[in-house]
């Protein structure tokens, strides 16, 4: 990974990856920190001559693992507090965003991760299973539970499902 590739990656993929991890953790600062740490680790591996075939997926997985560290999250939040108070650093949350964040926060961590990987990063269930070292069946089951909860919490309806329900 040379400088041009890394700069391209940071420009094109970094914001989306931070967004994904932030949806899981509910915290932007720790998401930034985790994604940056993951990218640095990927960079080190590249320097050692190792290749990472799907860099964005690799960084997403590593960053989500990193973000599980409560201590890391705590100290990043603490350090970032003064920075986050600057008006340009964060966008004011809309009520829609707050609803989504609250609905996600009510999910168990694994369900949150599969939801974000599926609906935000557009990974297939088999790709998610591969990234999370689990079976596709488990991913589908977690997604199904998460989907039901989110649909309920966000009052999502589906014409097709409604018509099925009416027929039933």
């Amino acid at each position: 990974m040379n400088e041009v590739e890394l700069r391209d990656f940071l420009r094109e993929r970094y914001p989306r990856l931070v967004g994904a991890v932030a949806l899981v953790t509910g915290d932007l600062a720790s998401a930034e920190d985790a994604v940056q740490e993951a990218i640095v680790r990927a960079w080190e591996r590249s320097d050692r001559g190792e290749e990472i075939a799907l860099l964005d997926r690799w960084v997403a997985t590593v960053a989500m693992n990193l973000s599980r560290s409560r201590l890391r999250r705590l100290r990043v939040e603490r350090l970032a507090r003064p920075r986050l108070s600057e008006p340009l650093a964060v966008e004011a949350p809309t009520s829609d965003r707050l609803d989504v964040v609250r609905a996600l926060a009510a999910l168990p961590r694994r369900q949150r991760e599969v939801t974000v990987l599926r609906y935000y990063l557009d990974l297939s269930t088999s790709e998610i299973a591969n990234e999370m070292h689990t079976s596709e069946g488990t991913v589908k089951s977690q997604l199904s539970k998460a989907r039901a909860h989110l649909a309920d919490a966000l009052a999502l309806t589906d014409d097709q499902e409604n018509s099925h329900a009416e027929h039933r």
């Binding site: 693992n65 350090l79 920075r83 989504v100 070292h133």
Partner: protein, 533 residues
């Protein structure tokens, strides 16, 4: 109306927060990388010193000298200019073969692309030069199922059926050993042909179709093959051994190989003394093994370990200490469970590991084991009596980084939990450590921009109190001139596997003042916490 799936996609896309623009992100990541490298060097120095001292001590103790062995290495024959193929090649391995008593060579190689693909990647082939003229005579046969890090290799080329022509064995290195495919050589026309297993009586312990067998020898299990010369011809036996107590279960399948067909002619399943059970070595039917298998079984033990949990333990680390206070040495392991028979890269952020312990000395984990879910390059790190009760606790490195994080495990021999390791948990909140009551105890050392951590110890060894110190301050802007300093003192109890906060202090000081602790040299309770050893 869009489907629920589409609505969810849309809502998540609109709700994901975006990081503030950072033009200097590349520079900041470079700084971060250099800092990680510096911290790692500190740790490496400690590791090198420990390894050198340990190695020297071991050789003194055993009175041994370094031993060298001659290892058959599959090397490119000269010349290897494409071996007469119509495409460029690389990663060429060769083995001598005989074809009707005449010498030749078998080759395993990779098709050259823009650059040479890494081991286990790209298109890999096997082919043979049947007359020794340096040009392959057979069409190359592509090998499938070659995976990193080692990939497919030339394994062996013995004459397994005694017909004067070699069979060709090609391997792929896995976590615990090798998967081996067997090929036959034909001369009219010249070809490398996969051998097919047929089992007309349905008696064999082997799957029919392409001939595959394993070459593995771990604590509870072994597989391999050997030849026998009988009055009615040579046979090839594939065996599997389950090393159970008190005897081994041995399953054998006897095959007669004739050209590209291996016919199952016999099979048995018996219990034998462990000393009588067959084991795979570093030869097959009198011929040597090549490539990374040449050192077998040494080549297989580093990446997978059988501790009786049903799957190999990968990237295993262990600590031998008295965890029960009975004066006997116990063994604790930390590692990752193999998935699909393979170990992940030890540096990969796998996220899950297990901690297991053996009190009985049989080399197998006792009953239960704990799963560590927040694991980054975990390993068993040290053993220390952190509560002064005469029993040692296992200290597990949970996250290897510039701020290493440790967890503390207590060994239980019975009770309701059964024998095994359980994590020490917090009885009360420790907000300065980011822990709530009921959380597993973790301590942190080292530092990064704007924050530092250290672990120390009061009252060791009689009545130890673990001291977690930490400091933080913004690295720039408002508040960057003052740092918060936190000290949390913890009393551990291995009887209940809990930790209680006995003192907690929060002070501030100018960042120009020296830290009240040393984050780069942190030790206490008999443990070198940083740099990690």
């Amino acid at each position: 109306m869009p489907s629920i799936d589409d609505q969810l996609k849309d809502r998540l896309q609109r709700s994901a927060p975006s990081p503030a623009g950072a033009d200097d992100l590349f520079v900041r990541l470079g700084t971060r990388r250099r800092r990680r490298a510096t911290n790692r060097k500190l740790g490496t120095v400690a590791v090198v010193v420990c390894v050198l001292l340990g190695t020297a001590g071991t050789f003194f103790a055993l009175g041994r000298t370094l031993r060298t062995t001659n290892v058959p290495v599959a090397t490119p024959s000269e010349p290897v200019e494409n071996l007469g193929l119509d495409f460029p090649i690389c990663r060429v391995m060769s083995m001598p073969i005989t074809v009707g008593e005449a010498p030749g060579s078998a080759y395993v190689f990779t098709k050259l692309e823009d650059t040479c693909p890494k081991a286990g990647e790209g298109s890999r082939f096997v082919a043979a030069d049947e007359n020794g003229d340096g040009v392959v005579d057979t069409p190359p046969v592509e090998l499938h199922g070659c995976f990193p890090p080692v990939g497919c290799e030339a394994f062996a080329a013995p004459d397994v059926n005694g017909d004067g022509t070699s069979e060709i064995a090609v391997s792929n290195a896995g976590a615990d050993g090798y998967g081996v495919w067997l090929f036959a050589l034909t001369t009219s026309p010249p070809a490398v042909v996969p051998i097919d297993v047929v089992d007309p009586q349905g008696i064999g312990y082997i799957k029919t179709g392409a001939f595959e067998f394993a070459w593995v020898d771990v604590a509870g299990h072994a597989e391999g093959a050997h030849c026998e010369t009988l009055p009615n011809g040579s046979t090839f036996t594939v065996f599997g051994v389950d090393k159970l107590a008190p005897k081994a279960d041995v399953r054998s399948t006897v095959l007669q190989i004739d050209g590209p067909t291996a016919t199952v002619v016999g099979a048995s399943k018996e219990k034998t003394a462990h000393s009588d059970a067959p084991i795979p070595g570093n030869e097959l039917c009198g011929g040597p093994l090549y490539g990374s298998a040449a050192n077998f079984p040494n080549a297989t033990v580093a990446s997978g370990l059988d501790i009786g949990i049903g799957v190999p333990l990968c990237n295993a680390s262990k600590i031998v200490a008295d965890f029960t206070g009975d004066g006997q040495k116990d063994t604790a392991w930390v590692g990752e469970e193999a998935r699909g028979g393979r170990c992940s890269d030890s540096n990969f952020a796998y996220g899950r590991a297990i901690a297991a312990v053996d009190f009985t000395g049989d080399g197998l984990a006792d009953d239960t084991y704990d799963t560590i879910s927040d694991c980054m390059e975990c390993r068993a790190y040290a053993a220390a009596d952190l509560d002064g009760d005469g029993k040692k606790e296992l200290i597990v490195l949970l996250q290897s980084s510039s701020t290493p994080v440790y967890g503390i495990y207590t060994a239980f021999q019975g009770n309701t939990e059964g024998p095994g390791l359980v994590p020490t948990t917090m009885v009360v909140d420790a907000p300065a450590m980011g822990l709530s009551a009921g959380d597993p105890l973790t301590v942190t050392v080292g530092g990064d921009e704007g924050y530092s951590y250290a672990v120390g110890c009061d009252g060791f060894p009689a009545s130890p109190i673990l001291v977690q110190s930490g400091s933080s301050h913004p690295i720039e802007g408002p508040g960057s001139g003052v740092r918060d300093v936190f000290v949390t003192k913890l009393k551990l109890s291995s009887q209940t596997a809990t930790a209680t906060v006995v003192d907690s202090q929060h002070t501030t000081q100018p960042t120009s003042d020296p830290l009240p602790f040393d984050p780069l040299n942190s030790s206490g309770c008999g443990v070198q916490w940083f740099p990690p050893g």
